[in-house]
């Protein structure tokens, strides 16, 4: 067996009314005055208020930063770090999607390093100081950032997404409360859920895959596949929302330790250069990348191993005597079918043309994808031709 490391120290607080346990989680970490991180949209929708109401009821004083943009930047990270110091805060509570949680990771890391600019900490495993107490409360079931060692922050000047990885960036606790995702529209539920599915599938095929991350990935796929369509159809289904949130968290734990590959390399590039939302990019790219790999014999047999978890009926239909190639093919077809379902039912765009991306942008996207940090963990080197082939397939 190849050597590996697995690290997931986050306390998971999951289930209906889990948010009510937040004051206890803060108290147990000695936090008396947290900085609540969120974005303007969640403030407007009253989702953030569900959390601040809990703090108000428990008499916990707090400050709020609600200006995290969808593609957070270094400027915001540094602004938050300064605000935290000025207001005398002693811990973070991040309520939001990946951008809010990743921005908080950046600010917390900067503070842990005594105010150093987060931009100087790019790389892997270079952060040695512990973060201030940090509780993540995800409002989407997609990024898994509540348990990952990764923070993705945009460099707005270079139009690139920068990734930071360190075991120290993992939040101390994650609160998964289905009430926080109940109002998420079906389209967003679908794209964020497919992001989580991508994490699990790429973790399972990454060069850093290991038996522990595999176990998380497989269970995540099972939970997401069984609950994503239900949560889209009925957002108020508490069980489906909870299972989906847990699936996303488990996919996060898998990829935090095994990393991701070609889908994320191209997706990060599309996000940085063409401003395609991350979940949307993952959803579009995933089946095409799987097909690309299978056409070249890459991960042959591995994708098919996931079929019973993604599409158990199809696996049963194929039966025990199906060849590995048949399972691979069925897995790929199932991913295309999932996308088609979300497109037909909820109008999720499936091509770059639909999203208004100019074909002229593709060479630059391909080049940036080749040099994205995730490319290192792909089983094969991502050439410009590879990235271009996939982008052309997704174009229209």
């Amino acid at each position: 067996m190849n050597g590996f490391e697995f690290f997931c120290p986050t306390k998971i607080v999951c289930g209906a009314h889990a948010l009510d346990k937040l004051p206890d989680e803060l108290a147990s970490r000695g936090v008396k005055h947290p900085l609540v991180m969120t974005d303007a949209g969640l403030m407007k929708l009253g989702v953030a208020a569900k959390l601040t109401d809990v703090l108000d009821a428990a008499g916990v004083p707090y400050d709020v930063f609600d200006q995290v943009p969808p593609d957070s930047s270094m400027d915001v990270v540094n602004e938050v770090a300064q605000l935290y110091g000025r207001r005398g805060c002693d811990g973070f509570v991040a309520i939001g999607g990946g951008s809010v949680i990743d921005t908080t990771k950046g600010a917390a890391a900067s503070l842990a390093c005594k105010g150093v600019d987060f931009a100087t900490l790019q790389g892997s495993e270079i952060l040695n100081a512990d973060l201030p107490p940090f509780i993540a409360v995800p409002t989407t079931a997609g990024t898994g950032s509540e348990v990952t060692l990764v923070a993705v922050v945009a460099d707005t000047k270079a139009h690139a997404k920068l990734s930071f990885t360190s075991y120290k960036l993992v939040p101390h606790a994650a609160i998964l409360d289905p009430a926080l995702t109940a109002s998420l529209p079906p389209k967003l539920t679908a794209t964020t859920g497919m992001d989580a599915l991508t994490h699990a599938i790429e973790a399972y095929t990454s060069i850093q895959k290991n038996p522990v991350s595999d176990a998380f990935a497989v269970k995540a796929i099972e939970l997401i596949a069984a609950n994503l369509p239900v949560a889209c159809a009925n957002g108020g289904d508490t069980d489906a929302r909870t299972n989906l949130a847990l699936g996303s968290l488990m996919a996060g734990a898998a990829f935090s330790n095994a990393m991701v590959g070609i889908v994320h390399s191209i997706g990060h590039s599309l996000g940085g250069l063409c401003h395609i939302p991350h979940g949307q990019a993952m959803m579009m790219l995933l089946p095409h990348c799987v097909k690309f790999n299978l056409d070249r014999g890459i991960h042959a047999g591995q994708y098919g191993e996931l079929l019973p978890y993604l599409a158990p009926e199809k696996a049963a239909e194929l039966g025990a005597n199906a060849t590995a190639a048949q399972r691979d093919e069925a897995m790929c077809a199932s991913l295309f079918a999932l996308n088609a379902f979300f497109h037909d039912t909820y109008g999720v765009p499936l091509t770059l043309a639909d999203l208004g991306v100019s074909r002229d942008a593709l060479p630059a996207v391909a080049k940036q994808a080749r040099y994205d940090g995730s490319a290192l963990y792909n089983a094969t080197e991502i050439t410009l031709e590879d990235a271009t082939t996939i982008l052309e397939a997704v174009y229209e």
């Binding site: 190849n2 790019q122 892997s124 060069i207 850093q208 040099y371 940090g373 490319a375 290192l376 094969t380």
Partner: protein, 173 residues
């Protein structure tokens, strides 16, 4: 973490340290030479801007080498005395000493055994990455370019070894 150099204890370790030391000394010359031979190496060198400097180091030893890209695309070894002392390597911060060389990217092998396995073709750079045999600091894109470059370079020497033949099979499917 205690990064004080440890003396190699066995003859084998001493030989490994000597081998890695020689290779690190040769590294800038190898890159400069083989960029003329390998289009892959040349493409990655071209990706790195003139003045770009990287540090390869092995924890627990005094083995380290800083290489800097010149305008012509060759790489030169930077003597330790010329390195900036006021900024951390890989931080991207400028030094107050304009004549000092700042290191853009750091690859730090976690032990001599990991470095030796990689530099002797016992395992590919990708395998080393998979088992987190080294940590990095600096901009990801140039780290990826360096990884592609080193992989091409190592394959030229050790393509005959099992690790590289297996990697080729994966790539071909």
């Amino acid at each position: 973490m205690d990064d004080r150099p440890l003396s190699p204890r066995t003859l084998g370790q001493r030989l490994q340290a000597l081998y890695v030391r020689v290779l690190l000394r040769l590294l800038p010359h190898l890159i400069s030479l083989f960029r003329h031979v390998s289009p892959k190496i040349r493409a990655e060198v071209d990706y790195l801007k003139p003045g770009y400097a990287f540090l390869l180091t092995v924890r627990g030893t005094n083995l380290a080498c800083v290489c800097r890209r010149t305008e012509s695309g060759a790489f030169k070894r930077v003597p330790p005395a010329r390195l900036a002392r006021d900024v951390e390597p890989g931080s991207g911060l400028p030094s107050t000493d304009a004549s000092a060389v700042t290191v853009d990217y750091v690859i730090a092998f976690r032990s001599l055994a990991f470095a030796f396995a990689c530099f002797s073709g016992g395992e590919t750079l990708k395998e080393a990455l998979a088992e987190r045999a080294f940590s990095t600091r600096g901009p990801n894109d140039t780290g990826v370019a360096l990884t592609y470059m080193f992989t091409a370079l190592l394959r030229m020497f050790f393509g005959w070894r099992g690790a590289y033949r297996a990697a080729k099979r994966v790539a071909r499917g």
